[in-house]
């Protein structure tokens, strides 16, 4: 049946869309060089170059990556019935980063613009598959989360090894950049690479929405409703592996989006997993755009990395959220 949405939830999607549109406008205009609100009518080459070469790809990637991370967080939380699940806590982001890092380490990233993203995607997909294989087909949420912690540690160890053995300072610098996460210096090529992959991953993930709802009744309850959990597991491995792998390959690890956004939206739209997916995607886009605008507005010569800022905002925010949840329970 169609998911009942609360009265508050009805206006949420349009409101979030308006917010994303507004933030996108700000993101295009604001930066080290302010383009002004009449940016589209600028005729000079410098403004046009900043707009097309820098701001537009950065804004579009912010939207795409934010939506991907928000969606994957909401889907993983629904699948594992655990609000602490997200690609970062399950080690999938680290696996994708390891894939990208290895392509830099072995000096194959420069061969073609597609090599690095492809290695990131491969890392993400392998991460999801290892996760499910490590924990077994009929894994409990706890086993899966523990497997994710192990997988994440292994991937970080691999990245550290690549860093310490890195053949040149350039490679080491590039590797560090992947770990910090950034939307700077991205081109429309990155948008072209990321969009179809994230779209396919999102469709695979969204098509699991009814199974995620059924999982509200636990694995036994879901299977008694005719849900094929093996198929759902592989579909999510493919979908989330693709979207997380792609987003990490393009921007590096941007944490906390998949964790914080569903938490923020659950009190408004309700806890039904399928109803949370689309708002989390749009909310994720707004969250990343907001972080990326803050990165640019912070004073100082060197721009902070987006991943750093998201964690700096996200960690205390999440801590405050946990505190308020604890207060409600006691």
């Amino acid at each position: 049946m169609t998911a009942p949405i609360t009265v508050k939830g009805r206006w949420l999607v349009p409101a979030l869309l308006v917010l994303v549109a507004a933030l996108a406008c700000v993101s295009i205009v604001v930066g080290k060089v302010n383009l002004g609100w009449d940016v589209w009518s600028h005729q000079d080459d410098v403004s046009r170059a900043i707009l097309v070469e820098l701001r537009l790809p950065r804004t579009l990637l912010g939207i795409i990556i934010g939506a991907a991370l928000g969606l994957s967080g909401a889907a993983l939380q629904g699948y594992l019935r655990n609000p602490l699940a997200e690609p970062g806590t399950l080690g999938v982001s680290s696996m994708a980063a390891l894939g990208a890092v290895l392509s830099i380490f072995f000096n194959v990233a420069g061969m073609h613009p597609f090599v690095l993203p492809a290695c990131g995607v491969l890392g993400g997909l392998l991460g999801m598959m290892f996760l499910f294989l490590l924990s077994g087909m009929a894994a409990s949420a706890l086993t899966l989360i523990l497997s994710g912690v192990i997988l994440g540690s292994l991937a970080i160890a691999g990245i550290s090894l690549a860093l310490s053995l890195s053949p040149s300072p350039w490679a080491a610098g590039e590797i560090i950049r992947w770990l910090l996460g950034a939307l700077t210096d991205r081109s429309l090529d990155d948008v072209t690479i990321a969009t179809p992959l994230i779209l396919v991953g999102s469709i695979a993930t969204l098509s699991c929405r009814r199974a995620l709802d059924a999982l509200t009744l636990g694995e036994v309850g879901a299977r008694s409703l005719g849900v094929d959990l093996n198929r759902v597991q592989w579909q999510l491995a493919l979908g989330i592996g693709l979207i997380v792998g792609t987003s990490v390959a393009v921007t590096g690890i941007v944490g906390f989006v998949g964790l914080v956004v569903p938490h923020l939206l659950r009190p408004i739209v309700g806890s039904r997993p399928s109803v949370l997916l689309i708002p989390s995607a749009i909310g994720g886009a707004a969250f990343v755009l907001c972080g990326d605008i803050i990165v640019r507005l912070l004073p100082g010569g060197t721009e902070l990395q987006l991943g750093v800022v998201m964690s700096l905002i996200g960690a205390p925010f999440f801590f405050a959220l946990l505190q308020s949840m604890r207060r409600k329970l006691t």
Binding site: M1, P4, R210, D213, A214, T216, L217, G221, L225
Partner: protein, 258 residues
Amino acid sequence: MSQLTIRSLQFLRGERRILDDINVCFESGCVTAVLGPNGAGKSTLLASIAGLLKPASGTIDLDGQSTLAMHSSARARRIAFLPQSPEIAWPIDVETLVGLARIPFHGVTSAVEDGAAVARAMASTHITQWSKRVVTTLSGGERARTLLARIFAGEPEWILADEPFAGLDPSHQFEAADLLCAFARGGRGVVLTIHDLTLAARIADRIVILQDGRVVADGTPAEALTPAILRSVYGIDAEWLNPSGQAPLIAIHGRHAG
């Protein structure tokens, strides 16, 4: 009249035979209670019929059609399974929880039909007034009624309920039992597992007793719950009080000595 026919059913867990050569035919229109000591295989039998466990051998037919060969959604539309102490992972509202029963009907029925089925299920279990309450705020009895409404909303031909009365006070046990009995009187089938012998004798039309994975008694309550069978299966001394009346009572005197 619908029939669930189980032939030569065997279920193994490692080397251990949980179900061993089960041959039984459940019929709709009545409540069948499956009894037996802990570990006798009651839950495994219900989970096997619901398609949640794959038996080592044997067949389970629903009106001549193998349930093992059915598509999982088609089976879920016909056979509903209520697990023992079901998990509810998120604080969703009652109506949303009841509506989950319509998941197997995706692409088969319209949203309007699904909504009507949910409304009927909530009305029949008298929970319509709580439709917007969050499930975590429900008491044990309210939760039991809501979970039964969730099963009814699928409008199945069969309900398999594993310990549906566990943790409920006597009044709520009868309330839940009345709902299941009314469902069976409507021409559908109910198979449930239960430990309370008196409640089983009162509500079940038929009793099947399992011991060590085998059927050791099958018949009306008076036929299946004799003191001799209860002594041999449970190792207890028990007697029927008021056996011919409307409200039989099985008095358990204690464990059988020797």
